[in-house]
């Protein structure tokens, strides 16, 4: 990739920044694996479709109209996804509640549109959207697995008999959500050697 080309934080090796931007919907949808998969699919499809359209149109949209135009495109796709999910996955939509609609103003999706799709062609935009969407889906599913198993003693909404006496309800709540997300972020940082990466940047 050319130096200076804007791309995803994920591809730049700083996924935790991306996770902080998307912490809201990660928290909201990681209480249940089904909700995590539903939100993951919604994020992936919204990013993918809006990236394709924005990367195709960014040259003809005047700079000062980009904010409303991009927001309308993202909101439009999120609305279409929401309508489709309401028809075919009503239980998942009920679990996600208002957080599915607020995806339209998510910093992750808008940042992807503004800083990646707006500066690159379709191929790079699609690649970034795919990687980011899959990354979020995996993180949300991992968080949901932990929160369901230890917090609610369930898997896929079904009770796990031997865990019923050992569940820690706080993990299923907001406090536990932040705790689990922080642990997952720490593990991701360790894997991606974030500190080493930052040290290198400082040296440069």
């Amino acid at each position: 990739m050319k130096k200076g080309t804007k791309t995803s934080y994920l591809l730049k090796g700083t996924p935790s920044i991306l996770l902080v931007l998307g912490a809201g919907f990660v928290m909201a949808s990681s209480t249940d694996i089904r909700a995590a998969l539903g939100m993951g699919a919604a994020v992936l499809i919204a990013m993918l479709l809006s990236s394709i359209v924005i990367s195709a149109l960014h040259k003809i949209i005047p700079a000062y109209a980009k904010l409303p135009a991009y927001l309308m495109i993202i909101t439009g796709f999120v609305s279409l996804i929401s309508m489709f999910m309401q028809a075919h996955f009503p239980n998942v939509v009920e679990m996600l509640g208002v957080h599915l609609a607020t995806l339209a103003v998510s910093a992750v999706v808008y940042r992807d549109a503004e800083e990646v799709a707006d500066h690159n062609g379709e191929a790079t935009s699609i690649k970034t959207a795919l990687v980011t969407g899959i990354f979020f889906t995996v993180v949300m599913v991992v968080c949901a697995l932990i929160r369901e198993f230890f917090g609610a003693a369930t898997f896929w909404g079904k009770p796990i008999a031997f865990m019923q006496d050992y569940k820690i309800s706080a993990i299923a709540g907001a406090f536990g959500g932040y705790l689990v997300l922080a642990i997952v972020m720490a593990i991701i940082n360790k894997i991606t050697k974030l500190h080493h990466h930052l040290d290198e940047e400082e040296e440069n």
Binding site: I61, P62, A69, M72, T75, L80, M83, Q86, P90
Partner: protein
């Protein structure tokens, strides 16, 4: 030109997405509507097995009680599902939400307590005791330990079924004399808490003792007729017929039989109460027991003299979180002179705020209050709603007893 281009682009985006949403809605709209109807049906089907579809007929019904929020008719003729609420006298806040399924013959086929905010609630199995009953609810008991919430629940279910019967949607259940008289007890003897069944003999068909010791209730027969006799802890008796008329004067023999049975079982409150009066008013003299024909929580009353003036003492056994023993001394003008209780708070670790309660100041707060100036605010103990309510009931019952005394009902 630049502005026009921007305008056209934004309008195009809106138009394209608007069109896409319109097209998608043609496909998803019917599916979403079907899902919504299915979800609503699932909820109603939880009390009406096999319900195919429902029609909301609430607006077509007349004189619905305030506790009935919606009535749904199962379109294939299986029956009706009623959405009702109930609010207990003690919690009094957010109501219980109840779903009642009634088949076409007027028999309850399913019932659920959907949500509640009661501090004490009946067991999960309690609602199922209503299944198979008609609007008479014959044989449905209140739930031991949560009498207030189960009373509110039962009253709400009864009102809902009676409303359907009044609108000629179902046949009304027929109550026997025995049930009519038993259901009359809370009305004629409101101070009798949870009724415990006792052994019966002679003309007494059923005997009940109030758990708080406030008295006894008897279902009695004389010839072909049935009567309700209530005897309070002071020994006063009243007899009622199935219409609710006071027929004590015409049934002296029944009253005597009831009083004899009650006297043999009644706990002796007078002697310990006399000691309590002497402790509360050191120097009290001429303590004379009074028999009142009130049937509230007052279980004993006495008059006495103190420093040349006449006073009246009342002992109430209202029920809060637990059984309470509350004492009032009232002067001849009807103002409280002293108030005391054996114990205010029974679970101090539960009622955290009690640690900061000044019991002496609380009791002194009652001094000087009369039946006319009592507002109910005086009884409030923070975080102890049930105890506060019990003190309120005891205070009101005491003023009622005092008024009965002054009205010559001795």
């Amino acid at each position: 030109m630049k502005l026009l281009k921007t305008f056209v682009i934004l309008v195009l985006i809106v138009a394209i997405f608007g069109g896409a949403m319109f097209a998608l809605n043609l496909y998803t709209g019917p599916i979403i509507a079907k899902n919504s109807a299915g979800a609503a049906n699932d909820r109603l089907n939880s009390v009406m097995a096999g319900g195919a579809a429902y029609e909301d007929i609430t607006a077509t019904l007349s004189d619905l009680p305030a506790t009935v929020t919606a009535v749904h008719k199962e379109t294939s003729g299986l029956g009706y599902v009623i959405e009702a609420t109930a609010t207990s006298d003690y919690t009094g806040g957010a109501p219980m939400d109840i779903l009642i399924g009634v088949d076409s013959t007027g028999v309850i086929c399913g019932i659920q307590l959907v949500s509640h905010s009661e501090s004490l609630i009946f067991g999960a199995d309690y609602p199922s005791t209503y299944i198979g009953k008609d609007s008479a609810l014959a044989g449905v008991e209140l739930y031991a330990g949560s009498t207030f919430s189960s009373t509110a629940f039962k009253d709400s279910v009864s009102a809902a079924l009676n409303a359907l019967a009044a609108n000629n949607l179902i046949a009304a259940g027929v109550k026997g004399d025995d049930q009519i008289l038993t259901e009359m007890i809370p009305t004629v003897a409101p101070g009798f808490t949870k009724l415990l069944e006792e052994t019966a003999s002679g003309n007494i068909q059923k005997a009940f003792q109030a758990e708080n010791g406030a008295g006894f209730a008897y279902i009695m027969t004389a010839g072909e007729k049935s009567y309700l006799a209530v005897v309070n802890a002071m020994g006063a008796c009243k007899v009622y017929d199935t219409e609710g008329n006071d027929v004590t004067a015409d049934n002296a023999a029944l009253a005597d039989e009831a009083k004899t049975d009650a006297a043999a079982k009644q706990a002796a409150y007078l002697d310990p109460f006399k000691s309590k009066i002497e402790k509360m008013m050191e120097g009290a003299a001429d303590i004379t027991p009074i028999t009142l024909d009130t049937f509230n929580s007052v279980v004993s009353a006495a008059s006495f003299t103190f420093e040349g003036a006449t006073y009246y003492a009342f002992y109430s056994r209202s029920v809060g979180f637990h059984q309470m023993d509350i004492y009032f001394i009232i002067d001849a003008n009807g103002a409280i002179t002293k108030m005391d209780a054996k114990q205010f708070i029974f679970e101090e670790e539960y009622f955290m705020a009690f640690g900061g309660m000044d019991v002496t100041a609380y009791k002194d707060g009652f001094v000087g209050i009369t039946g006319d100036t009592f507002t109910g605010e005086e009884v409030i103990i923070a975080t102890a709603t049930m105890t506060s309510n019990a003190v309120k009931q005891a205070t009101e019952d005491t003023f009622d007893a005092f008024n009965a005394l002054k009205g010559g009902a001795q």
